[in-house]
């Protein structure tokens, strides 16, 4: 069997190879499975395009055009009430900061209650975890609305909403960090004859602190994003301005506000990067 050429492969050759290496032509079962799964995916998509009336996209060109042109064509920039905008943004950042701070403090306690190695009683651990599932399972906006109903319109509801979401998220992440702790380092400290306070100080804290700090910094950034939209349900911050001006058709101003928020979030991202680098070093989270 010397030099071969593709053009010289005859149907007989194919038959011969099929005989000697039948699997090389694909497992018919696997092929059916593959075809079936693709059919399901594509079939589902087509069905959902129909169900959700994707065709409406093509009827919307006029409105979409109006919207897009207003977003990019900024008019009457002198009358945009910048003071309101920046007070709103400041309020949003403040809500996020305070909410994350309170969330962190609560999560510090609850995280230990939800971790296997620090909470020996399974009943309590599971109860705590289910409660955290409830906190996390309900979106921040929904919490916002709930708290608006409970304590009235304004940033207090927003802070509470961020707080409860952050308790849910951070506690879970903290408890995972606690569970992933390196036992050997703790044993090492204990072996020096340290008392419990020192075991925590030198065995646990150095391992946990960087992770906790990093998680809380990330949480601050993502809370700022969620705080932006809390105003949509009246829970304070710049979201109230966004929805107000959107409803009034001032899309250019909405675009301006969103642009400003994106810049603020980028700055927070950059700042938390610096802090992370200072306390944690390059390895990050």
């Amino acid at each position: 069997m010397t030099a071969l050429s593709f053009a010289d492969i005859t149907d007989d050759d194919v038959r011969a190879v099929r005989q000697s290496h039948p699997q090389a032509f694909g497992d018919p079962v696997m092929r059916m499975v593959r075809i079936a799964s693709w059919t399901i995916v594509i079939g589902y998509l087509l069905y959902s395009f129909h169900l959700f009336e994707f065709a409406k996209i093509f009827d919307s060109s006029e409105r979409a055009w109006r919207l897009v042109s207003r977003i990019f064509y900024w008019q009457d920039m002198a009358s945009w009430h910048y003071d309101q905008i920046y007070v709103g943004i400041a309020q949003t950042v403040a809500m996020a900061f305070l909410g994350t701070f309170l969330g962190t403090i609560f999560a510090l306690g609850i995280g230990f209650l939800a971790a296997k190695n620090t909470m020996p009683f399974g009943v309590i651990r599971h109860a705590v975890r289910r409660l955290l599932d409830v906190f996390r399972g309900i979106d921040g906006v929904v919490w916002g609305l709930v708290f608006v109903r409970a304590v009235g319109l304004g940033p207090l509801a927003g802070v509470l909403a961020i707080w409860i979401s952050d308790v849910g998220n951070l506690s879970k992440l903290y408890s995972e960090a606690i569970e992933n702790i390196d036992r050997k380092q703790v044993e090492g400290v204990r072996a020096t004859g340290a008392d419990p306070a020192r075991i925590i100080r030198y065995g646990y804290l150095p391992q946990i602190f960087p992770v906790f700090l990093s998680l809380s910094l990330y949480s601050f950034e993502s809370s700022t994003r969620s705080a932006t939209i809390l105003g949509l349900v009246g829970a304070g911050g710049v979201g109230m301005i966004i929805i107000e001006r959107f409803r009034a058709g001032m899309f250019d101003q909405v675009a301006f506000v969103v642009l400003n928020i994106l810049i603020v979030i980028a700055v927070i991202d950059w700042g938390s990067g610096l802090i992370r680098k200072r306390f944690i070093g390059e390895r990050g989270h």
Binding site: A3, L4, F6, I9, V17, H21, Q23, A24
Partner: protein, 278 residues
């Protein structure tokens, strides 16, 4: 005929290949030797345009390779297959698909995205694998194979391209001596039996002497030797290798007494190896 005309490659300010002028007639087996950093890989990769020349020209049968673009460039790459030191196979695909990927140039967008290969292509790929004694692993995931086996799969992939030229960049540098011999035997056999031009970067002198019709020595990007194995004196070789001479001379991978093997012997050796490991 492959004609190099003052082919030069600069990386930033560094000249990796400097005004190389050569002719390689069809059917020749050429070994390029030199210490590491001499510019062997860069020269080879300029042939199939994985690296673009800074200046100079490369002609193939009168066609300017350095000026090719788009589909013509891909066609040229398809005509000169390449085998790499690290095999450069897709580890997570099975062996057969890797080999069939050598036919991708002939595929349109649709069939290649959907991974549809014809029965003829499958048969051809199995034949190519069989030629290297590798058909028995056709459905295995590629990264589960040993280095020597992967390099033979890579050669099979090169074969299904039906190339005119086969480029090999240190094809045996990552292999143990036995596999190195099997792979070099396979390259030589392809050169003899299929009449392919083979251009092969080699680190060790012995291998080049043993397998190649012609040896090109490179130093600092320039060609400093071009002749037959007999013409390459030890003094010349020591100069080409410089500080790496001891290594290059000692790593005598192949024993001359074994003689050259036909590709059938390669396949037989592989099968024996496979039986031994089962």
């Amino acid at each position: 005929m492959l004609e190099f005309r003052k082919l030069t490659k600069e990386f930033n300010a560094k000249r990796a290949v400097s005004e190389v002028t050569l002719d390689i007639p069809p059917g020749q087996m050429v070994g390029i030797i030199g210490r590491s950093g001499a510019g062997k890989s860069t020269l080879l990769r300029m042939i199939n345009r994985l690296n673009d020349a800074t200046s100079g020209q490369l002609l193939h049968d009168g066609r300017d390779v350095t000026a090719l673009k788009g589909r013509e460039l891909r066609q040229w790459r398809n005509e000169c297959a390449m085998v790499f030191q690290q095999f450069n196979l897709v580890g997570r695909l099975n062996v057969l698909t890797n080999v069939m990927s050598g036919r991708l140039f002939h595929h349109g967008f649709g069939t290649s995205m959907l991974g549809l290969f014809s029965a003829h292509e499958r048969a051809f790929a199995v034949r190519a694998l069989d030629r290297l004694g590798m058909a028995h692993v056709a459905l295995q995931q590629t990264d589960t194979l040993s280095g020597g086996q992967q390099q033979r799969v890579a050669i099979a992939r090169a074969l299904v391209q039906e190339p005119k030229i086969l480029l090999a960049d240190e094809p045996i540098a990552s292999l143990d001596p036995l596999n190195a011999k099997i792979v070099m035997d396979a390259l030589r056999a392809i050169n003899v039996e299929d009449g392919l031009t083979v251009v092969c970067n080699l680190h060790t002198l012995d291998t080049a002497r043993h397998y190649c019709d012609r040896i090109i020595g490179m130093q600092d990007g320039r060609v400093v030797f071009d002749g037959t194995a007999a013409q390459l004196t030890d003094r010349m070789a020591r100069e080409i290798y410089g500080a790496e001479a001891a290594e290059a001379f000692n790593e005598a991978l192949t024993s001359t007494s074994l003689g050259r093997a036909s590709i059938r012997d390669v396949a037989d050796a592989t099968r024996a190896q496979a039986r031994a490991t089962v």
